[in-house]
Symmetry: D2
């Protein structure tokens, strides 16, 4: 399968992103509501297959060598993503809920557990790239083994078993979608280390923006935020609760490369007074003088993309900027980043420009528990809660996010120095 | 002056702490309100002298060697604190506002600027301990030179000059008080590295607690927080603004050493499920198995204090715990840390037990700008604003805080791994 | 080709090692003497092909993933070895001596230069494992391209050209053989990181030892050492020069695993008085308690080998020990390591037991220039000379050394902490 | 005591250095030969006092702050040197050989043991600068206590006890002299970190050179090297043994600053082909572009000296150069460094120019055991032997070496990257 074909399935969403969550989801995803009765087993199997296939489609353009590499501690090999998402189903679904399930290979448990301390010891994260066996093809065998067992489970499970396993199946699907995004960001990082500028998909291009200008006014008042209703959500989106919106404005448009070039031309990367202290240290230590993956080409700039090294498009949203850079840019512009609650309230009615499908948008909210938050019980409780320090929330979704995954209350989070995700920003004005 | 005498001046506050801000302040501090007319020059000079004297009193028990040492990057030498606080007045008051002022020694500017990038290059922080000249006594000369000039300025300045300089003088006094606290915490860290367990003040003892039990109910509703009125405040306490208190409860008492020993006995330091991910890594990497400065003594524990190595007092508030430890303890207890707004609202009416004068209390609020916050103009704008990432807010004050310094809206902040301050905690229950 | 077949070609040498240099060399290697006239072009082509084929045979059992991995800074990917040895011929032979030669891909120059500063900038060593493109198969294409050009050059070159290029061709062959050894040691290191214990060659086994006991007496006197005669040598083996042998004895046998277990049982790894200061620090820092790749299995020990994890064979020579360990062992035994000159004089007449084909043998000679040493001119002068500090000389050859490569005056060298080569030791007694 | 007075006692040796070991020693040093009978107790006491006084004279210009600082891991505080040399006598002489000796303070044992593992655990080297207590004055008390006990021991010991203790007393004196040299090099390093350029001794100046030119011819042949006769030596100078001198030449003069400036002007610091690989990495990593302590002053260079920052004297011997730099310089000049044996043979008859009292001279000999070397028994066996890896030998002595300490067979050794000693070079030509 050619590289561009591999991306075709999610390309439609990419090339015509909506201002809010994409509506034209692949027919099979998301799966039915958990509460739907009778359970539509065929629909769950179809959803499962759609997600699993998408992973393989994203991996298809990559050689065994590409799938092996771990280019930094924050990134993981493609092969590892494919195996870890499989382990997730084996560990939390099959091992715990299917008596007599034959573990594919007990030794893989150690290799493909990511960070679930309660699930036992695991391969150190920074050493994921050292595991050459199982090979890419052997991981395909692992996936097939687990797929057969999961599909059989959905098809044949007694109703009371189904009751217990569907919530785990559902979280496994969303979990795998998160790794689908990482597969693209991680391989882009790896390719960016290679002076040959490998191409992931020659047909890849930045989706069109809706290009709305102006700002949306945020009224002062109490608003409810967080997960609501019956659809899927991660535990960190709950409990839904009220917040006081101070009022202010939030831009309809994303900050663009043209905007960013103005910041650079004004000496933005070298002016300490614009930066957080930790941010300026990071910028100096790592020699930042432009967003991630930018390099000088003659008089201008080019950037490493999924389609290889390409000239900077001034109209495209700036991406691969850290929180520190986003914060410095806002200060330079005399503006603010929005809080995550402001973003959520503004996006809720669907008319915030380019909210989804372009770049994750840094907010000025530190990632923290919602009041009364309690993580899931057991090992899955490690999914989100234990990361609630030192990170900032991003909202929206990116060009690399799997179709059907993005939602308004969704809380993404990264450390303020990280730049390898498709991270950008929109500006706001806090009420003075 | 003997060591215990040196502490006598602030010891009264320590030995009889109040439940809110101490009332029996040294007569000379705080200085008059900035708005008071006519300006009471004598009162300002008295306030200046009181603060400057307190610094010297805290330094008095320390030998030239003690004042030289920098035991880690986060700490600074006593001599440096004495010189840096002096530089602050020279740089921001005398150099900028007194025509013809004779700089004491132009070369000291580089050595004793702390982190004011706008004020020019400076000695790298981690190399402060390498500067043996000027000596302790030469720094005393620097202090005397600046004191004469500042006092002359206050006495003789034309009214319109006084108008401009009093706000800087005032911030300089509060700035020096902050360094007075650091002088104690930094020398305690240095002494804790010495197997001889040097004693800073043999008469030092932990102040008595008021020992109130039970919890105070927090009503749900909108409350205003932040600085109000005419008294002094730092820029990060503004603007005063409204927040939505979710409701819940906050304990009257601080977590004690006895409480902490129960956490330890229950394996608290080794149970990953109780910890933030970054926190567990810090605990494992640094080998934490008890609060900072604790060491095993026979069957029990002792701790390095300002009075040397002392057995743990079960009734005393636990201190030298990081945010990570405080957070893990709260999770172990099935409780929460309060937010900084909850703390402020609870403390405002004065009846939160042991709020001041014992230990700074970690809140679960990441240190961030209040909505509409704008830093001071110029180099002083670097005072607070540029640290608004990766840190958590602490409220109250500690046994080492200078008399007259603590206030209800005061926002202290440290990184979540830091333990060398007098940091402890009180628990709360967030509304579920 | 199956893994064990892949090793068959060099296996005969391995399974029946001689006490000195193996005699039954592959017919085609080594090539004719440089001075032989007329030049036997066919013999040179045959030698070239034999060496190039051996590289591919060693790579054959390895998957694309295996060939991609770089498991530490000291090791390189198999794919890199295959490409770098090819670059060596392209750079020093074809580019410089074949007008009109079409560079295969100019961009590979940067990627596959190892450390020749004079040959231009290059991929940082620690980032060799990040280069996923060219793939394993594309590297095969690179090899074929260069092979065609080299063979055509040998076949068709005018005699005066041949005169110039044969010395470079010859060094290129020996260079490639050195990388053949590294291919095995590097993949063993990578496999040793994998808890699945991958097998490189299931049929691999340790060659038989001749098992001679006793010690050979070294007479006091002046002896000539270094390269002599017309055969190939590296520049660091010259000039041949006289040394004063102090006299003493040198063991016929290698130190075995059984010997080493006695050292371990006697607390050897924990007794500082047996170790060099730098060595004890290395042992403590890295947690050494046994040779490299050893791990506890029940009551005993197993070791990672090219055939996977295998129980320790007490009779086999100990290997994967650093100089620091070898030195500590000798001190524990009340013996010495030989100097490189002592080793050479003892081995010269061919009756030093197990001198070749088992383990490289640490000497107590720091790697240094022979008196009057001058490196080759140009970039090839960087081959050996610039490493003459901080390393120790090893003599003999190992089970992984290519057939025909070992010679008595050969000087191998590694840093004293390194353990991933097949490094062992024999003891001696220096004259007191 | 003023700074320049403090140096006066050893200044005579400095200002009129001899071509071999200085003859006009202080009357009291060295002590009598160990074999002299009857034992001249008064002479031993005089020698002891002379050495102990010299330590105090070197410390006298330094403030308590100066004596406290440790400016890098390789350096130690002055106060530590004063206490450690005292501990050496207390530990190896008094504790072991004087029944009923009252240890001054048992806790100092941990603080002032340097690296004698056999003598028990000790303060980590890099944390010596954190120990502010005992103070400078308290260390003086420690010295006085031990001095009284040592002098009483010499005066009163029974003859058979004296027999046992005099060899330890003697090594203790030479040991203290080694630390006297380190006191100067370590404080110079500390002062060089201070932008105020503190002055240790305003009267300090570089001693005059004898300025001989030309080279001395080394005959080929067998020569004996190492310690001979009855005088003091360190264990690493034995056994005396024969070596084969290859022949060649060795310069009478030291390489000067003028020579070095030519190397710099020719791009020496940036030309990889001149450097050892490890050396070039060190030079690039640490940003070397001139010898240690040099800094640009206008169009020229100045250097931090014991007299403060001074312009470079072209005629003075270059100093504060690492082995890597010395090696690169020799390669640039098309010359060699001598071996330590060549140096010793050339210096033996006393007519090698400026051999002593200027700069230690790097040789190209790795520091290793002489054939048959056995260290002293017990903890003192750690004195020299355990450092025999990764270091190079230097010969001669420096401007900072204590009077009476230097001898022809003396072997000094440092790591090839170290520059804070007074290290320079003379060139040679190895026989080709």
């Amino acid at each position: 399968m050619a590289a561009s074909a591999a991306l075709r399935v999610f390309a439609p969403e990419i090339s015509a992103p909506k201002t809010s969550v994409p509506e034209s989801l692949p027919p099979a995803f998301p799966p039915p509501l958990l509460s739907t009765r009778p359970v539509d087993r065929a629909a769950w199997i179809a959803a499962y297959r759609a997600v699993r296939d998408e992973t393989e489609r994203r991996a298809a353009p990559l050689s065994p060598e590409d799938q092996q590499v771990q280019s930094m501690a924050d990134a993981s090999p493609t092969k590892w993503h494919r195996a870890h998402t499989t382990w997730f189903f084996e560990q939390f679904l099959l091992r715990e809920h299917v008596p007599g399930y034959a573990i594919h290979d007990e030794r893989l448990h150690y290799l493909f557990n990511s960070y679930y301390v309660a699930a036992g010891p695991r391969q150190p994260r920074i050493m994921r790239g050292l595991i050459t066996r199982p090979t890419m093809d052997e991981v395909a065998g692992y996936r097939a083994h687990v797929d057969r067992a999961v599909e059989a489970l959905i098809e044949d499970a007694a109703p009371e078993v189904l009751e217990r396993v569907l919530p785990i199946l559902e979280i496994g699907l969303y979990h795998e979608q998160q790794h689908q995004e990482l597969m693209l960001t991680d391989i882009l990082h790896a390719f960016a280390q290679n002076p040959l500028h490998p191409v992931y998909d020659a047909a890849w291009r930045w989706p069109e923006r809706d290009g709305r200008a102006g700002a949306k006014v945020l009224a002062r008042g109490i608003e409810a935020v967080g997960h609501e209703g019956e659809g899927f959500s991660f535990d960190n989106e709950s409990p839904r609760h009220e917040v006081l919106i101070q009022g202010g404005r939030i831009d309809q448009g994303l900050v663009t490369n043209a905007d960013w070039l103005a910041f650079m031309a004004d000496g933005g990367y070298g002016r300490a007074e614009l930066w957080l202290s930790d941010g300026f240290i990071a910028a100096q230590t790592d020699g930042w003088e432009a967003p991630g993956y930018w390099r000088r080409e003659g008089e201008g700039w080019a950037s490493m993309t999924l389609a290889g090294l390409k000239p900077i498009d001034p109209a495209a949203p700036v991406t691969h900027v850290s929180y520190y850079e986003a914060d410095a840019y806002a200060r330079w512009a005399g503006r603010d980043l929005p809080t995550e609650a402001e973003w959520e309230v503004a996006a809720r009615d669907g008319d915030l420009g380019d909210a989804f499908g372009h770049v994750w948008q840094w907010t000025r909210s530190a990632y923290a528990a919602y009041p009364g938050y309690r993580p899931l019980p057991g090992a899955l409780g490690e999914y989100n809660g234990k990361f609630m320090s030192n990170q900032f929330v991003l909202r929206g979704s990116s060009v690399a996010t799997a179709a059907g995954h993005a939602r308004v209350p969704y809380r993404n989070f990264f450390y303020p120095h990280q730049r390898w995700q498709f991270t950008g920003l929109r500006l706001a004005d806090a009420r003075a």
